[in-house]
């Protein structure tokens, strides 16, 4: 293994879990609109979440990050429509269920119990007229009918302690808590039934950086202790590199690169990932000029053929307008074979098969 030198402790942990998927999204397609001309927001996206792993989902606004997470949990509001694919959930005993085929009742039972979500701007999700303890306990007693009210409240107190809020705040109303504490109450609520998958949709966007750090550390610590998997959605790539084991970059409704966090940070293979990583300043290392990404994402209702990124890409060539790139292993010697990238520079076979001249991988995208 030539990449052993770059395997950090975190990457190692991710690799160890790589054989045990807990949530497999296969060829998921999503449309917005019920008319005969819907917008295809996701086009056959596949993504695997392994047990105990923190998977970061990053990309610009409107690239489909939240849509992917909500579609996988069937939480997309109208006029969202799942038009195909599978979402296989594997529970701890190894039993597999396709979330897309569940009926309402099964879906309700699965939610919170198996999969829990912390929403974007979750701190406004608390009902201002009920005490927070009761709101946590409500969910517990809804899913576990045998639990008495007292037990549920005790459990709620335990959950609050877990996220670093003292148990005597149980009788507080939401307005008595700060924004960060409310966010942590939401996390406590999500974890109350010991779910196996936790989806966090920009849970820290409304908070200041100190609070962000606290919450991110809390999640990392809780993950160690409770062993759930996390899908962490954000457009803050630097935050992801801190917290995630693996990062998937999305662009225009497709995953363009999927690699371990360290690989993504040090050795991006897709031009978009590379550009994204160069759009925020690093804390250490030499000073360099920040480069933004020229242009703006394509209109999803009128996508061009070929690679959706090619108009903004510095490495586009003639084949990019004709062939839609698929996720393949990068064409760089010694790369982790598990990582994948959707770029024609890395896929000479597809380029040659379509009758174009394959182009070499540019230096910028083959850093070792």
């Amino acid at each position: 293994m030539s990449n052993s030198a770059v395997t950090t402790q975190r990457a190692f942990r991710a690799n160890a879990a790589a054989t045990d998927p807990v949530l497999e999204i296969k060829n998921l397609s999503v449309d917005y609109g019920y008319d005969d001309d819907p917008t295809h927001v996701l086009r056959q996206v596949s993504l695997t979440l392994n047990r105990g792993e923190v998977l970061g989902l990053a990309g610009e606004s409107g690239c489909g990050k939240s849509t992917l997470a909500y579609a996988a949990t069937r939480l997309l509001p109208p006029p969202g429509l799942i038009t195909g694919g599978e979402v296989i959930f594997t529970d701890r005993s190894g039993q597999q269920t396709d979330i897309l085929t569940l009926n309402d009742q099964q879906l309700r039972a699965t939610r919170w119990q198996d999969l829990a979500i912390v929403f974007q701007g979750a701190m406004n999700s608390l009902n201002p007229v009920y005490r927070i303890g009761r709101q946590i306990a409500d969910g517990i007693s809804a899913h576990l009918p045998g639990v008495t009210k007292k037990e549920a409240l005790e459990r709620a107190a335990g959950m609050l302690e877990l996220v670093g809020i003292s148990a005597d705040r149980l009788r507080d109303y939401p307005h008595q808590l700060s924004g960060g504490m409310r966010q942590r109450v939401m996390i406590a609520m999500a974890l109350a039934l010991d779910p196996q998958v936790l989806i966090m949709d920009e849970p820290t966007t409304a908070l200041d950086v100190v609070m962000q750090r606290q919450i991110v550390e809390q999640i990392a610590e809780l993950r160690e202790r409770l062993g759930f998997s996390v899908i962490f959605i954000t457009h803050d790539v630097s935050l992801l590199i801190e917290i995630a084991d693996r990062i998937a970059i999305m662009y225009a409704g497709e995953i363009v690169e999927d690699a371990s966090a360290q690989d993504m940070y040090r050795r991006p293979r897709h031009p978009y990932s590379d550009a994204l990583l160069h759009s925020f300043p690093p804390l250490r290392g030499p000073r360099r000029e920040l480069i933004g990404i020229p242009g703006s994402p394509p209109d999803m209702s009128n996508l061009p053929t070929g690679c959706p990124y090619r108009d903004r890409c510095a490495f586009a060539f003639d084949a990019c307008a004709a062939i839609t790139p698929e996720l393949v292993a990068p064409a760089v010697e010694g790369d982790d074979p598990r990582r994948s990238v959707a770029c024609l520079r890395h896929d000479p076979e597809a380029v040659a098969a379509a009758g174009f001249e394959p182009q070499p991988v540019p230096v910028e995208l083959s850093v070792r």
């Binding site: 609109g33 019920y34 109208p78 006029p79 897309l100 698929e326």
Partner: protein, 330 residues
């Protein structure tokens, strides 16, 4: 660099032929099945109201020797105790029903919008007094008041009745609009408009009123229904002149001449069905307005039929799944 620029020009996206079709978008409201059904029924009534005098087979007042005949080819809806043709009475009565309904609906809606939006927007003493006024009108029992007012007036013909109904029926709409205006007034876009120095008139007409369209339209349709029913009730109890034909007058004579006891069903059943049909048309239009004005519901309302076929039931929290995507990826 020039090479690269030329290269990118080649990559220019050419918009394909699937840009939105203008003509198809123009009559969106008409594509809603519910609204269309309601409009067709209402259109039919309007047609009858306009051409009624020319198509009525008999003079509705003309007596004949064919007394209390059941429906036949000579008299499609039978005759009254004086040998008058029921169908002619109904056809000629349509105009009065629609005129009263729509005049009363329009006037009541205008009063309701003015009072409600003003009260909601200005607040303070103006709000208090306008609210008190509409509360008074809300608690007054409407029908007795209409009967008293109509009884005091020298002639209780069509327009008079319409105005009396409007004067008593605007308060409910004003109440609802005031509540909605109160909540809109505090929204950021209204505050921003105020900070920009937009005039009060412009804020109300351009920022607030468009948000109230659905409520105003629904209120209008509801008030028209209320006005039609009120007018028919007034005629039925004999407040309005009994020789001015409308559906209520027909029912008045049917009741006064014991049509039910005599088994003359053709005398009152058609009138009742027409009232129900008009009410249904107004309700369907109301549904259509609701689905059309709310942008979130619009897509649902427009595609209701194809969605039923595809078994899509849009709900929050349970995204429908259809297997329609082409599987062309490994």
């Amino acid at each position: 660099m020039t090479v690269e620029a030329a290269f990118f020009e080649d990559l220019e996206i050419t918009p394909d032929a699937t840009t939105p079709r203008k003509g198809k978008r123009r009559f969106l409201f008409m594509r809603n099945a519910k609204a269309l059904t309601g409009l067709v029924i209402l259109g039919f009534f309007f047609l009858i109201a306009i051409i009624g005098p020319w198509i009525a087979p008999y003079d509705p007042n003309a007596r004949s020797s064919a007394i209390l005949q059941s429906p036949s080819w000579q008299h499609l809806m039978g005759t009254t105790h004086q040998g008058q043709d029921v169908m002619s009475q109904l056809i000629l009565g349509t105009r009065s029903v629609l005129v009263v309904g729509f005049v009363a609906g329009t006037v009541a809606t205008v009063i309701g919008v003015i009072v409600g939006v003003t009260a909601g927007y200005i607040g303070g003493f103006g709000d208090e007094s306008l609210s008190a006024l509409s509360n008074v009108f809300l608690v007054i029992p409407q029908l007795p008041l209409i009967i008293i007012i109509a009884g005091q007036l020298p002639s209780a013909g069509g327009l008079t009745v319409a105005l009396v109904i409007a004067a008593t029926g605007w308060a409910w709409g004003a109440r609802v609009l005031r509540a909605q205006t109160l909540s809109l007034r505090k929204r950021d876009f209204v505050e921003a408009a105020r900070a920009n120095g937009e005039s009060t008139w412009r804020i109300i007409s351009a920022e607030i009123l468009p948000n109230l369209t659905a409520i105003i339209a629904a209120g209008f349709v509801g008030t028209v229904g209320f006005a039609v029913l009120s007018q028919i009730t007034l005629s039925f109890v004999g407040i309005t002149p009994t020789n001015e034909w409308n559906w209520g007058t027909v029912l008045y004579w049917a009741q006064a001449q014991l049509a039910l006891q005599r088994g003359a069903w053709w005398w009152f059943v058609p009138a009742g069905l027409l009232i129900a049909l008009l009410g249904m048309a107004l309700t369907l239009i109301n549904f259509g307005i609701d689905e059309f004005v709310n942008p979130r519901l619009r897509s649902v309302g427009l595609n209701a039929r194809s969605m039923r076929k595809r078994r899509i039931r849009p709900r929050i929290g349970f995204t429908p799944v259809v297997y329609e995507a082409k599987e062309d990826r490994a």
